[in-house]
């Protein structure tokens, strides 16, 4: 609550306090009376005797401004209170009850809004006189419809939230639900709008005064002062400018407070959004070997953000390669950096506050060296993406046709007619019936599965070499998921392209990919061919994830292996191995040193763990002295990747022993038999 109101808020609050205090104590201040003429020479500019000068009748402008503040503030605050007093209960009622109550209240409200405010104000003032109270009532009443509408909207938002349903489930009465669940949530937005409303009311009062319809002379009002000063504009502009400026500052202050309070209600802020842009200075890349004959090579890719809570290493030194015709899966829980990884590869990270490092090679060409224009060409034609939620992946206001045709026209230079024909072919190729009809549709007219097929068709439109699919089926039903993943595989085979599939679902990954990367806290913790990784798991995190998922083949009520804790706070990742606080096998070393990637016995299977599962390394404590066996080829390769020499030696030992022990044992059984 106390966060980030900002200095402007306090400054504004200070100004309002000052004006309020001055208005309240005006009679006690050493000021001339506001209506006393010729306290100084007429039309005198600001000076020591009269800080704000005098007006045409020689009255002290400062005094008149201070007394004028009374009218402005009383009307401003009073009108809002009156509006809220009548508008808020009606709005809450309409928003909470809905149906008939809502229809009646909003119907009346609509008529009230159609009634000319000016006629009402003039008639009341003419009928009952332009007293302070009448002006206040007029402006208050005129504000009621707006308040009803506003409070109703806010109430509706919160009434739909499940905590309101939950309170009713508990058996709470409607009245209790309203007072304890709805009203506290609605009150903050109402408070913020109250300040903005006060600004509006002060301006409205000023307008009435300007027309001579507010509190009558001799009582000074700000609007009146400005109106009176108009004839003197040429000779004594201060008579107009000073009240104008004071009024401006006051209105600004009320607006500012309202705006800052409203920012507080913005629930979207998690404090992990990148803050303010800093020109993307690149993180230095560690030396690496550029592979030949691979389609995609990612080398030491890093993406760091500056956030309100500190630096976040969303992607931290990820390397992998990908061949044509293969599917690489990236798995991890929320916050593992898997989505950010593919956005980084594609160069689509948010610009603000982001620092990127490392290299991305497509057929040996370093994409990180390209400028925006060159990168756009690559993105349009060689690398394509499909995202999680097909609901948000298509532009809601453009037809399917416009969207599918666009890349064809932009990148392939097709004419409209050719593009339309090609778009229809594309839709047909992803299994959409009646493509010509669908092209004229809008996204909301299609089902989720159809929309995802459309986004796939768009991604494939310019014949990409790599399709990046970020949780393409998470928002879809399981039968549709099967259809979509089947489609992606078929397209991969037909087009001989590569696929990068990001998913949180291990069974999806196991079924549909060739190679797998497991990510945790922005790092690769295990990587390898799918069968090796799932059958001879090394990293305890991967193992834990596999066992935490209920399996269909398990009997009912089969106890799940629990992975305690939750994914780490990226702003403050644990030291050493980021997984160590949750790891059942963790020892002292895990919290101190970060493990490099070791080579497992299967080719290309790597893992980042000091005491991997199923290797015997986990029982090291019973045999403190490891044998000094010389490393295998894989172990040497792993050693290369280790940052420090000592670590490398140790790593080689671990790997060697692992390789020896594993030749005969079934990994999972072996791990279990050790009583883990």
């Amino acid at each position: 609550m106390r966060r980030r109101l900002g200095w402007s808020f306090w400054l504004a609050l200070g100004w309002i306090t000052l004006i309020l205090a001055a208005a309240a104590t005006a009679d006690l201040l050493p000021l001339p009376r506001y209506d006393e003429t010729l306290v100084g020479p007429p039309q005198a500019g600001p000076g020591p005797d009269h800080p704000f000068g005098t007006d045409g009748l020689g009255r002290d402008v400062l005094s008149r401004v201070v007394y004028g503040a009374r009218v402005s503030l009383i009307v401003g605050i009073g009108a809002v209170l009156l509006g809220v007093l009548f508008g808020a209960p009606l709005g809450v009622l309409a928003g909470y009850r809905r149906r008939a109550t809502d229809a009646v209240i909003m119907g009346v409200n609509d008529i009230a809004l159609a009634f000319p405010a000016l006629v009402f104000a003039l008639a009341v003032v003419a009928f009952a006189g332009a007293s302070l109270l009448n002006v206040l009532i007029v402006l208050g009443v005129l504000g009621v419809p707006a308040w009803v509408r506003l409070v109703r909207g806010a109430t509706m938002v919160f009434s739909e939230r499940e905590f309101v349903a939950a309170a009713r489930v508990l058996g709470a009465r409607d009245r209790t639900v309203l007072w304890r669940e709805v009203v506290p949530n609605v009150s903050l937005p109402v408070l913020s709008y109250a300040f903005i409303g006060m600004a509006v009311a002060i301006v409205a009062e000023g307008s009435l005064a300007f027309l001579g319809l507010s509190v009558q002379a001799p009582t000074p009002t700000w609007g009146g002062l400005i109106n009176e000063g108009r004839p003197l504009m040429e000779d004594a502009p201060h008579v107009v400018l000073i009240p104008s400026f004071v009024m401006f500052l006051t209105v600004l202050a009320f607006n500012l407070i309202g705006d800052r309070l409203r920012a507080l209600t913005d629930v979207r802020q998690s404090n992990l959004e990148p803050v303010r842009r800093r020109q993307a200075d690149r993180l230095p890349a560690r030396p690496h070997h550029v592979e030949e004959d691979v389609l995609l090579q990612v080398a030491d890719l890093r993406t760091h953000f500056t956030t309100a809570r500190g630096a976040v290493r969303a992607v931290d030194g990820v390397s992998f390669t990908l061949q044509r015709g293969r599917t690489l899966a990236i798995v991890g829980e929320s916050g593992s950096g898997k989505s950010m990884l593919i956005r980084s590869v594609l160069g689509l990270t948010p610009e603000a506050g982001t620092r990127r490092g490392g290299r991305v090679y497509l057929d040996g060409q370093d994409l990180t060296e390209l400028d925006d224009e060159q990168m756009r060409h690559i993105l349009g034609t060689r690398m394509a993406a499909v995202f999680q939620d097909p609901m948000t992946a298509l532009n809601p206001v453009r037809t399917i046709g416009t969207q599918v045709m666009e890349p064809l026209m932009v990148h392939l230079g097709m004419k409209r007619k050719a593009a339309r024909a090609r778009a229809a072919e594309l839709l047909a190729s992803v299994g959409i019936p009646e493509p010509a009809r669908i092209l004229r549709r809008y996204p909301h007219q299609l089902s989720g599965g159809m929309r995802q097929r459309v986004t796939i068709a768009m991604a494939l439109s310019c014949g990409p070499d790599i399709l990046f699919a970020d949780e393409p089926t998470t928002a879809l039903d399981v039968t549709v998921q099967d259809q979509v993943l089947r489609l992606i595989r078929r397209q991969r085979e037909e087009r001989h392209m590569a696929v990068v599939l990001v998913s949180h679902d291990l069974s999806v990954v196991a079924e549909w990919s060739d190679e797998v990367i497991v990510m945790y806290a922005g790092k690769v913790v295990e990587r390898g061919p799918a069968d090796s990784l799932f059958e001879r798991t090394r990293m305890p995190y991967t193992e834990a994830l596999l066992r935490a998922v209920p399996k269909l083949t398990d009997p009912a009520h089969h106890p799940l292996r629990l992975l305690p804790g939750r994914p780490p706070d990226l702003a403050h990742p644990p030291s050493g191995c980021a997984f160590h606080p949750r790891c059942p096998y963790a020892r002292e070393r895990c919290s101190q040193e970060e493990p490099p990637l070791f080579q497992a016995e299967t080719l290309d299977h790597l893992y980042a763990c000091w005491y991997p599962v199923g290797t015997g390394a986990g029982v090291v404590e019973t045999s403190p002295e490891l044998s000094g066996a010389s490393g295998t080829a894989e172990a040497l390769k792993a050693a290369e990747e280790a940052a420090e020499l000592e670590e490398a030696a140790e790593a080689a030992e671990v790997v060697a022993e692992a390789a020896a022990e594993l030749e005969t044992t079934d990994v999972i059984e072996g791990a279990d038999s050790r009583g883990r």
Partner: protein
């Protein structure tokens, strides 16, 4: 699928919750309506967990809300220990609500952001004028520290912890039935397992009766004693989790299972078991609602709606042409008939026809031949 009928219901004395012919419709404009739930029946015995599984739009969450009478169903009966809830209004309904509690899908949205966590859990006892003595016990039971909960608000907790708070809030009133509506779908894999384990543990400890609704069949199977499969507002199949996974009889159940990656169940690929898109619930198909996507559909399916019938020990299906289960049923009066082991798919209509089994409430358990 898409069947009606109440053959699968157990005698009222054996169950704590009995739902019959539940119908929920919503206005869809222009005088039409969304047929969200159309004649769903099921029951839950005390201490049992009933899983309800189905894809989006099948009416499972609407069913949950209708059980809570939020809003009350258009037609049908919901009886809690013999008490007809749909007949209750106002104060009487409110007083009954505490006996049925609910856990929601979105852990963040289901907690009031402006209240402290302990107050959220203590709200139930407060409403009912009970002391808050169980509140701390409940917080501890769900794995939260009461001292922390007294000062913190929901946004300071993770999704998993918020779901624990929801569970504590529901259980503190000592309800007879807890309805869990997708309680783990919004959670990470590791946290999901923790919550499932917690529910199992609490169920033992407080002898809870659960209705567990989810779209993930593996999750449902893990916690349920019996599973109800729903499609487009109708019931397809009811069986124990093991029977359902090992011997799925309804074409939709089979499609659902086959779609699960790494299901490892020896079913044909899913694209041979289901086609097309779900029809609109505003204009559902005649007869069996699954027939438009079913490879085994015949004219009979369009003409006549299948009703629930028994095809195995506590295994019920609403289909004119169910897949053979391989289980031998011994009807009370009919001679024992041996069945061929897995028949090829799709099942010819005639062959399926004679798989009909006379309805009989008590059928002796017969070992299956396979």
């Amino acid at each position: 699928m898409a069947g009606s009928g109440n053959a699968h219901l157990r005698p009222p004395g054996e169950v704590v919750l009995r739902v019959e012919d539940l119908v929920v419709e919503f206005p869809a404009g222009r005088g039409r309506s969304v047929h969200a739930v159309s004649g769903v029946s099921f029951d839950v015995a005390r201490g049992e967990t009933l899983g309800i599984v189905g894809e989006s739009g099948c009416g499972k969450s609407t069913t949950a809300r209708a059980l809570m009478q939020m809003p009350p169903p258009l037609r049908g009966s919901v009886r809690l220990d013999g008490l007809e809830l749909t007949a209750l209004r106002g104060e009487a309904l409110r007083r009954t609500r505490r006996r049925l509690q609910m856990i929601f899908q979105d852990p963040i949205s289901s907690l009031n952001p402006r209240r402290r966590v302990r107050d959220i859990v203590a709200e139930g006892p407060r409403v009912w004028g009970a002391g808050a003595d169980r509140v701390d016990e409940m917080l501890t039971a769900v794995g939260l520290d009461p001292a922390t909960a007294a000062t913190r608000r929901p946004h300071e907790f993770s999704g998993g912890q918020c779901q624990r708070v929801s569970i504590a809030r529901a259980l503190v009133l000592d309800p007879e039935i807890v309805i869990c509506d997708e309680p783990v779908s919004a959670l990470d894999v590791s946290v999901q397992a923790q919550i499932l384990a917690l529910l199992e543990e609490l169920k033992e400890r407080y002898r809870l009766t659960l209705v567990f609704i989810a779209h993930d069949l593996a999750v449902v199977k893990n916690v349920s004693d019996r599973i109800l499969v729903m499609y487009l507002g109708k019931v397809c199949e009811l069986a124990s989790g093991d029977a359902l996974v090992e011997r799925p009889a309804h074409p939709y159940t089979r499609a659902l299972l086959a779609s699960i990656p790494r299901g490892g169940l020896g079913l044909p690929p899913a694209d041979q078991l289901i086609s097309g898109e779900p029809p609109s619930p505003v204009t559902p198909p005649s007869g069996c609602r699954f027939r438009t996507r079913c490879p085994a559909a015949t004219p009979l399916c369009a003409a006549e709606e299948p009703v629930m019938r028994r095809i195995g020990t506590d295994h019920w299906v609403a289909c004119h042409h169910p897949q053979e289960t391989g289980e031998i049923l011994k009807p009370v009066e009919a001679p024992q008939v041996a069945r061929a082991p897995e028949a090829a798919f799709p099942q010819p209509a005639e062959e399926a026809e004679d798989a009909r089994v006379p309805k009989s409430p008590k059928v002796p358990k017969v070992p299956k031949v396979r």
